[in-house]
Symmetry: C2
Amino acid sequence: MPGTLEELSSSKAFGGNLIKYRFKSAALGGLDAKFNLFLPANAETSNVPVIFFLAGLTCTEDNGAQKGNFLGPAAKEGIAILFTDTSPRGAGIEGEDDDWEFGTGAGFYLDATNPKYALYYKMRTHIQFEIPQVLEISGLPIDVKRMSIFGHSMGGHGALCIYLASKSQQFRSASAFAPISNPINAPWGQKAFAGYLLTGLNEAKEQYDATELISRHSDPVHILIDYGTADQFYKAGQLLPENFLDAARKAGYDEAQVRVREQKGHDHSYYFVSTFAEDHVHFHAKFLKA
Amino acid sequence: MPGTLEELSSSKAFGGNLIKYRFKSAALGGLDAKFNLFLPANAETSNVPVIFFLAGLTCTEDNGAQKGNFLGPAAKEGIAILFTDTSPRGAGIEGEDDDWEFGTGAGFYLDATNPKYALYYKMRTHIQFEIPQVLEISGLPIDVKRMSIFGHSMGGHGALCIYLASKSQQFRSASAFAPISNPINAPWGQKAFAGYLLTGLNEAKEQYDATELISRHSDPVHILIDYGTADQFYKAGQLLPENFLDAARKAGYDEAQVRVREQKGHDHSYYFVSTFAEDHVHFHAKFLKA
């Protein structure tokens, strides 16, 4: 049955468990989808809040779980972390495995409208609606009324866009490590939008560009962003966090609502992510436990 | 020049830096060897102690650095961590890439005496003598008089054997996550010894079996071991930590000198390692800062 969770593995960690699940995803055209879920010890006695973690280009549901240093801090806070995949797997579309920045491992957290991809590449729907629904019907000890979202690089783009698209109501807070913050003005984003979307940048401006979205946003938000000055992709103009910050300030959001921090000397790797992981979990915990 | 360090990359992490080095290894027959070194912030002003981390089968110098959760705890303690590789790379010996538990990625931290492997497979010498020497001549801010050693699985075997072989003087303390503790009585060890060593188990008993070594040891020791009851390799009889514990007690070592902890429900993965990483770093810090 679609949405029925199959447990693939379970590893005890930090007093809780890291469990890998698989299910038939309607959003992804019936393909198998996987995610990792860290449940802290307190999930044995009550429903716990959850933070969704969205990984970057080339990653799977494993990278953040293994390298992100999130489990210890989440265990301390008594919060679950759900690690999603970055694209459909095995769609069999011609050319989808040819590039590392497009196709498999690079779904860009959007719903494709180009017919070539539209049947399978619906990562936005998968993450924003399908997984929360699956959690709700699964009987897992997750309180889907208390969710936040964060991500790394392409996953930071996904987290910010999904948060803002949901009018910051479905998710209580968003944060990002080195996010692709203004993809309509960056090579990775332009390539992805041209490939996945029928009208390319026009659709992207409406739905898939965090800088565009924040400039039109008016509801209160809770956003934290970190990026490193030694990040090769930042230096190459793929991330553009300053554009997001400028747009947020122009839209009237102050430091209390949108905080963008430059981290001196840090690069794009999970060594950077893991350094600030505890800080981000703590940021979300404030809103999830409020 | 042999032993000259070439910096391949550097990532800021937890206030310090994770640096990958390469050098021509005399011990490994002139092949390139790599290691990762985490230097905490205080290494900028003074020489710091170091813990060597030895990884398990199939791993490289990256696994422990990326997944072990050691950097944060090491930063807090002001201690360096050095992550070694698990075998020579590119020796070109017939069949060395055929199995995951022998050859490439599976050097077993011994000095091969079988002529087929002896020119390159000298991981014991590489780690016990060559890397400390390279550190000393490199000018890196490491105090080679204050070293400890730990490892995971095959790396736990390596850490315990090198520690005991050095009469627990070169290294101040040893610890291990799910170590192969009595390899002469386990399939992985028996296969490795039969392949790498001219006289197989005879040489292994002398030098490469932690249970044999502790049974003949009389100097004071500081050893901590954790293993999980849900570990598939423990259950398959590859690890045999009880044999090590029995031998240690028979040799007169009490709980204060040799502590072996059964961790309920934990498996063999880095989720297990990362859970107890801080505890192990703290254990070594006591002796490194004494």
